[in-house]
């Protein structure tokens, strides 16, 4: 059975027609199908024994770059995927390698951009639009899916050899010997990063130590922060509302003007805590002392809390000072700890250990902070 790839269902037909006079040249006209629209990253089709296979462009277009920014900032995160199945890049033939990847569009874009001047087949697995690393952990980039996709795309009729190259970070979800047993194809683990693929192929499919190591540099960490911020947005809004209400308690039991007057200090405090834990700690990770992320968060949270308190024009009193300090620090510690989930080097056993240790610290800090905040109103 052959799948239709390189096309996606077209929801509407409201495109305005601009060309009437000259008949436009459309090399892809033969591949159009009613109800489908050709993806913009397809430049042509490659004839094979099992029919035409879509050929991918290696160049990113404005549209791709714009979409990448939207996804990275957390605005268009969901559903940014392409159809799974077999694609080609360059002019692949029966001897060309088969590179396996996930159907998250950013992963796919990242891969094709690095494959200039390479002739290869690209087998895209259905990982529900999730990148290779996360999908391998979640079990969608799996032995089962790989075997299924090899069969669905009739790979054995497209290439003469019996070899598929997988991104190394997919190994968590794959058992190479089972793939071989069930599909006949041997799994070769390629490098961690797509940019090393050309060299890997040149060296007869050998990766050196450096190609096999994950990295987590400043840019890689920074790229993840908008998503972290996006995740805290909703709880932050709810917290703000609660903070306003808490700020209303005082000698007159509850007063709205009190709420506004005192609440306005808490909101910047909340954002300082969020910045310290979800942006500063991730970005400066290797430079902040301690190995436990929650401890790193206490350091960055304390530093930012002090800066924040120094910047206050009116002095709210000692109890309020301590309350604000604890508040910023606890938020930062908690969000820093959350960042363990986004890194490629923290072990679940380690995360569990620090959660057991630091969640109590964070909860007690928040309770103390709340108590002091209410107390400071009297």
């Amino acid at each position: 059975m052959k799948e239709s790839t390189g096309v996606s269902i077209m929801p509407t037909m409201n495109d305005t027609q601009t060309c009437c006079g000259v008949e436009p040249k459309n090399v892809l006209a033969d591949y159009e199908k009613p109800g489908y629209t050709l993806c913009s990253f397809i430049e042509n089709f490659i004839p094979t024994d099992i029919g035409p296979i879509p050929k991918i462009k290696t160049k990113m277009e404005k549209k791709d770059i714009k979409a990448t920014i939207l996804v990275r900032t957390g605005i268009g995160r969901d559903n940014y995927k392409i159809a799974p199945g077999l694609y080609g890049i360059g002019s692949p033939d029966k001897t060309s390698e088969v590179l396996v990847t996930a159907n998250f569009k950013l992963t796919f874009d990242h891969l094709r951009r690095e494959l200039n001047n390479i002739n290869a087949w690209i087998l895209v697995l259905d990982t529900r639009g999730v990148n290779v690393w996360c999908a391998a952990g979640k079990g969608t980039f799996s032995t089962k899916e790989l075997v299924k996709r090899i069969k669905l795309s009739s790979l054995e009729k497209v290439v003469d050899h019996k070899r598929v190259i997988l991104p190394q970070l997919g190994a968590t979800g794959i058992t190479a010997r089972e793939v071989k047993k069930e599909s006949g194809f041997r799994v070769v683990y390629g490098p961690v990063r797509a940019k090393d693929i050309p060299l890997f192929l040149e060296n007869n499919r050998k990766a050196d130590k450096k190609m096999r190591m994950v990295t987590f540099d400043f840019i890689e960490r920074l790229i993840l922060t908008p998503v972290e911020l996006n995740v805290v947005l909703k709880p932050a809004i709810i917290t703000t509302v609660i903070l306003f209400l808490l700020s209303g308690f005082g000698p007159d039991i509850f007063s709205f003007s009190n709420a506004i007057q005192r609440g306005v200090i808490l909101i910047p405090a909340l954002f300082v805590g969020i910045f310290a834990g979800a942006v500063f700690t991730p970005a400066m990770l290797p430079y902040i002392p301690f190995k436990k992320f929650a401890a790193k968060g206490i350091i960055s949270g304390s530093a930012f809390a002090i800066l924040f308190l120094l910047s206050l024009s009116s002095i709210p009193g000692t109890a309020a000072y301590i309350s604000l300090f604890l508040f910023v620090m606890a938020i930062s510690s908690n969000l820093s700890m959350n960042f363990t989930g986004a890194t490629p080097f923290t072990s679940p056993s380690g995360v569990e250990k620090e959660m057991k240790q630091f969640i109590p610290v964070q909860v007690i800090s928040i309770l103390l902070s709340t108590g002091l905040w209410i107390y400071s109103a009297f």
Binding site: G137, Q168, L169, A171, T172, G173, I174, T175, A176, R177, Y189, V192, A207, K209, R212, M213, V214, T215, F216, L285, P286, K291, K292, T343, P344, F345, T346, S347, P348, S349, G350, E352, K353, E354
Partner: protein
Amino acid sequence: MENLRYIDDVSTLVLDQDKCIGCGLCTEVCPHNVFELQNGKAEIVDFNACMECGACVNNCPSNALEVSPGVG
């Protein structure tokens, strides 16, 4: 990655060298260079770099490796 290390002594990684057939697959799939092949057997050379991803365990053909995150 050398300057980014997580907590020591927490990984649940276990290697049974008696079962190891020295295929080297674990040295290929591990993203933290935890293993090295020495005299035809895998050796754990950087235990504390292990992030318990399970890549080595899944791919070891002789069940010589084990990792059990979330237990204990």
